[in-house]
């Protein structure tokens, strides 16, 4: 507040006072994109809690049954991890294709991403089945409960991502995913990359660190 | 003006009154921890009191300001509504001041706090008596390791924690089911009894006497009636007590027709003996039952646990401390733990009515969950055994022999 403004006298907002030129949002990010970032920040704490729980219980099979680390199939999980990581790449390609207005190509990449996600989920379902067959069910011991909860939660997140991707593909098939929707695709991409990053963390913490 | 100054005087008065009310009349306040009876509680109190004093000073200053400032700067009736007071946006030096000064005060308090934390966490000497304190719904069990072999198996008792006065006693606190908290306010602060964990705490009572407390972590239905009593004895009395506690109870033959012997038959043939242990009677059958702490044994966590009754009449309360076994009268209390040693004393001091009422219908006397819920949980607490009046008389006669 300067003297000059004060000298202007009482400010009664008059018609036309409204400044038309100010940016659409204060941060420059759209509300949707900002909200997704904020949401993902919150998700970090959810996975943080679950990962901490797993770390606390990973060696605890007092109530019997094998520990997760005793029955891992690291090569198998490595491959499915690689598949999920690849889907991040195809997601990037999809985003950039849509942004360039290449709707058809974007659709292909989106479908590929969703497909790779489904491969990952199928791998997880197979892995879970194998574990149960080998005597490690959800309720077998504390370690197994923590393992299934953590990886299961991640699986649910991937599944939600797949639903979003498939919805985008459907929209695209109906011709509603033009360049003006690039940001929507980008936001779904943000979510997808986040889920991938979380998997890298889980894969490291759960599978690789002894 | 007079009203204002009146109110200013009022605030500190309230504070002083509160303090006085809180401190006074300690004889009737058995759980008042501002009246410590042992070094640990005293250490805490010596730390707490100055802090309370500092808080009191700040209380008086801030509440005084809360009254004084608005009254001093209240809008005058004749004030010109169209003139606003000077708009003061802040004062950096002042604000830094009331950031730093409280921080310094708190750091000083913090230093003394840390010192006390580490003082209190010092292990008692190796020669100290070592007792395992086990909480369960809704009573406390105490197991003594007298021969220092690391096993708490020489004495198993309940409700009354008996300790030698003037000595540090090392407690190892744990639980068989949910989280409880062990607290004898006049001797030390509380420590949670967490299943699967063993938490250390030490107690020392300055003088012989009885110090009460109770469970302070919500532990379900009868949390309110999970009481604690630490009974401090002189060293010689304590030694006598330990010797007495290690005696086993006699068995009775089937052809004995005394009332106590009939009670013995009731005890061993009814459900009593499947939960309660009496050393010399059924402790061998249930060895596994009592020795492993129970935590890892499925099925024992919820039920199947009841106080060891070998020396029931050497305790002052029963049912988790809810009821007096020794009548709560001056003369009976004066007998201490020996109230049942002489038959005359026993007859005079036993609260037989309470004991009989308990045997008649335990869940009616204390909130418990003695009936299992299929598929969800087992018994928690003593069920109604539907004893006849005759059986109750017999049982009481038998229990009276368990000195």
């Amino acid at each position: 507040m300067t003297d000059a403004t004060l000298a202007e006298g009482p400010v009664v907002v008059a018609p036309g006072d409204y400044d038309d030129d100010h940016p659409v949002t204060n941060t420059g990010l759209s509300n949707n994109k900002l909200a997704m970032w904020v949401f993902l920040a919150s998700e970090c704490l959810l996975f943080g809690g679950l990962i901490s729980t797993y770390l606390l219980y990973k060696d605890n099979n007092i109530s019997g049954g094998p520990l997760p680390r005793q029955i891992y199939d690291i090569p198998f999980t490595s491959i499915s991890s690689f598949v999920l990581l690849t889907s991040s790449l195809t997601m990037v390609l999809a985003v950039s294709a849509i942004a360039r207005g290449e709707e058809r190509r974007g659709r292909t990449w989106l479908a590929t991403t969703a497909g790779l996600g489904m491969v990952f989920i199928s791998g997880q379902v197979y892995e879970f089945q194998t574990f149960v067959r080998e005597g490690m069910g959800f309720t077998t011991n504390a370690a197994s409960s923590a393992f299934f909860t953590l990886t299961g939660f991640h699986g649910v997140h991937v599944t939600m991502g797949i639903i979003m991707l498939v919805s985008l593909v459907v929209l695209s098939l109906r011709g509603r995913l033009g360049v003006e929707r690039a940001e929507t695709v980008e936001i779904v991409g943000l979510y997808w990359h986040f889920v991938d990053v979380v998997w890298i963390l889980i894969f490291t913490v759960v599978y690789l660190i002894p | 003006m007079s009203r204002r100054s009146q109110m200013r005087r009022f605030a500190p008065l309230v504070g002083v009154a509160l303090l006085l009310a809180a401190c006074g009349g300690n004889q009737k306040l058995p759980q008042n921890y501002l009246d410590p009876k042992g070094p640990a509680a005293r250490t805490i109190n010596n730390l707490f009191m100055p802090v309370l004093g500092v808080a009191g000073v700040v209380f008086v200053i801030v509440l005084g300001l809360c009254l004084f400032v608005p009254l001093k700067f209240r809008a005058r009736k004749d004030a010109d509504e169209d003139v606003a007071p000077r708009q003061i946006h802040g004062n950096f030096a002042l604000e830094i001041g009331w950031t730093i000064v409280p921080a310094l005060i708190l750091i000083v308090i913090g230093v003394f706090t840390l010192k006390t934390v580490f003082t209190l966490s010092k292990e008692p000497p190796k020669t100290a008596l070592s007792v395992e304190v086990i909480g369960q719904q809704w009573w406390w069990e105490y197991r003594y390791d007298l021969d220092r072999d690391g096993k708490f198996d020489e004495i198993v008792t309940a409700n009354d924690l008996v300790i030698p006065a003037g000595e540090k006693v090392k407690l190892t606190i744990t639980s068989r089911d949910v989280i409880h908290s062990f607290w004898v306010p006049k001797l030390n602060g509380k420590r949670d009894a967490v299943p699967g964990r063993k938490h250390p705490l030490w107690l020392q009572a300055d003088k012989p006497g009885e110090y009460v407390g109770q469970c302070t972590e919500f532990c379900g239905l009868s949390h309110a009636e999970m009481r604690i009593k630490a009974v401090a004895l002189s060293r010689s009395a304590f030694d006598d007590w330990t010797k007495r506690m290690q005696r086993t109870a006699p068995r009775y033959s089937a052809d004995d027709t005394s009332l106590a012997a009939q009670g013995y038959q009731v005890f061993t043939q009814q459900l009593c003996a499947s939960c309660h242990v009496i050393n010399g009677v059924n402790d061998k059958q249930t060895k596994k039952f009592t020795a492993d702490g129970g935590i890892k044994t499925p099925g024992l966590q919820v039920s199947g646990r009841a106080p060891n009754l070998t020396h029931l009449m050497a305790r002052t309360t029963f049912a988790g401390g809810k009821f007096y076994l020794r009548k709560n009268t001056k003369e009976c209390n004066a007998l201490g733990l020996n109230w049942a040693q002489k038959p005359a004393d026993l007859q005079r001091c036993i609260d037989r009515t309470a004991l009989e009422a308990w045997l008649r219908n335990p869940p009616g006397q204390k909130a418990m969950a003695p009936e299992p819920v299929p598929g969800r949980t087992g018994r928690r607490g003593m069920p109604n055994l539907n004893l006849s009046e005759q059986q109750i008389d017999q049982l009481v006669a038998y229990l009276e022999t368990l000195k």
Partner: protein, 674 residues
Amino acid sequence: MALTETGPLALPSGDGAGSPRPLGVFARPRTTHGWRSWVTTVDHKKIGIMYGATALFFFLVGGMEALLIRLQLATPNGKLLSADLYNQVFTMHGTTMVFLVVMPLGAGFMNYLVPLQIGARDVAFPRLNAFGFWCFLAGGLVLNSSWLLGHAPDGGWFMYAPNSGVQFSPTHGIDFWNMGLLFTGIASLTGAINLITTVLNMRAPGMSMFKMPVFTWMTLVTQFLLLFAIPVLTAAQFLLMFDRLFGAKFFDVSAGADPLLWENLFWIFGHPEVYIMILPAFGLVSEILPVFSRKPIFGYPFMVFSGIAIGVMGWGVWAHHMFASGIGPYSVAAFSMSTMLIAVPTGIKVFNWIATMWGGQVRFKAPMLYAIGMVAMFTVGGLSGVTHAVSPADTQQTDTYYIVAHFHYVLFGGALFVFVGGFYYYWPKVFGYFLSDAGGKLNFWILFVGFNMTFGPMHILGLRGQPRRVYTYRSNYGYEFWNMVSTIGAIIIGISFLVLMANIAIGYARAKRLSAGGPLTAPPDPWDARSLEWLTANPTPVHNFDRVPTIRFGLDELFYRKYREDEGGRLVRVATAEEVVEKGDRTDVHLPSPSYWPIVVAFGLPFVGWGLIYNLWLALVGGAVVVLGIFGWALEPSVDDEGGPLHPDHGQPPTTGESGAAEAPVEQEAALVD
């Protein structure tokens, strides 16, 4: 400044460029009056009012529970409640007051005020906002349905494992607790995302972050705390739910589980939660004190940064709830120190509030009494809080009535006092009529006396060793007198709330009479206020601002539009309230349309909850409702081409064809009409 209208999953709405026909099956509702307008509303003001009203209802429920507790404890060996019932009542009292009263009251004020204080027309995601409210309501109803469906939760609001496991709590009460709080958690989380986005993105031109009112700042800090705290509770609740419903082993001690896992997770949520409850009140008091002292808030930067400091440090003190839990002397020492230090920023606030009044013209209107009362009562709670930070002393105090006294001084004397003061302050803004000032003062003094009679003696009871959460106590422990005083105090508090209700009813009746059937309108800017919410007419018109204001004077924008210095250096009034405040008569602002879908989605949730407890088929039905609702939501046309909800006569159909037409920038459109 676009009003976007998409859900968190950002599925595109139907009418993008080149597609005039919306994908949605149903048109958006258009009701503006009657109950339907409330059910389908996306207006942040209506949602704020609904939060407030619902919270008051639950306050009544929680207050009844409190009275039951006090009546039971009035005398030793009380017979009113059984142990079982008492445990349910105190669990529900705590849970209700925390999650269904203090939090939503804060949410109500934040929802109503934040867009107004930053000069916006609504929050960033209006439908999400409505969804949040309905989730909260669903959670509250699921939680309280436990009373009717057999057994209320009985593990304490902190729900320590393993007591909360099936083995020790075999009834379904705790499942209700779990489900209910998961749903209110969704409400908090969506609210946090929404309000953070709103504050960061939708401020009026010229309003930089450090020109935002303190209340808005405290809202931002609160929402960040919620954003990070709620998922921790959610994670813990999922673990508990899996244990209880599916036999997982997280808290099964016989399987080697560690009960301290729950304690840590719960308090990592639980301590920030304490600040989540108190920071909105800090914000409100920072609005009321300056207005009734006619001075700016003292030390605005200190107020803001101390709020942020509290928000940050609030994450490093959780284990002070566990000083007796056996966490070891080093942890105890560290958390003692951090807890000591968090008193510093709080102290700054108290001193700055007092300094705000210094040199002002203090007007003792009802809201001011509550604000001053809050500063005093909160200080009492803060000081007893410092004595808890002294961890050895805390091992004596914890789980006694001393703690009960402490947190009631902080949360009742702190938060609720200001919220009631906020009612008296904002009532004309929200409803267009005044609550009687004399009635408000009467209300205050009854409340003040009752409050101190109820909770003051609890300090003494605590020092005398009366534990919390006990349904009975013995007669010879020195507890009788003060318990009786406390119970009488609780009844007086009850009376003070009857006074509040009577005030509302009488005020309404009088206003109705005076308005002679017309709409209720309070005069503009009745308190000579300082921030933007009072720039709008009373009650706030549905479109908030006729013109989105441009901030020229920074903080206290409204005040400096009314006052300036004369030659003598005195601040004198240069414009009347009528000249400065908008008329609120604009009819051509296009607003986000109401929607059925938020309540539809939220409607499915209780069935998911009940279904998981009783029958999975019911859960499937509920889940189907949720999924259908989400699709309906996503496919709903984002604006109603047939006419806005408010102004069927507006001549300008929404412009289409530009990027993101779904998020038609209402401001721009308004400007077009000019």
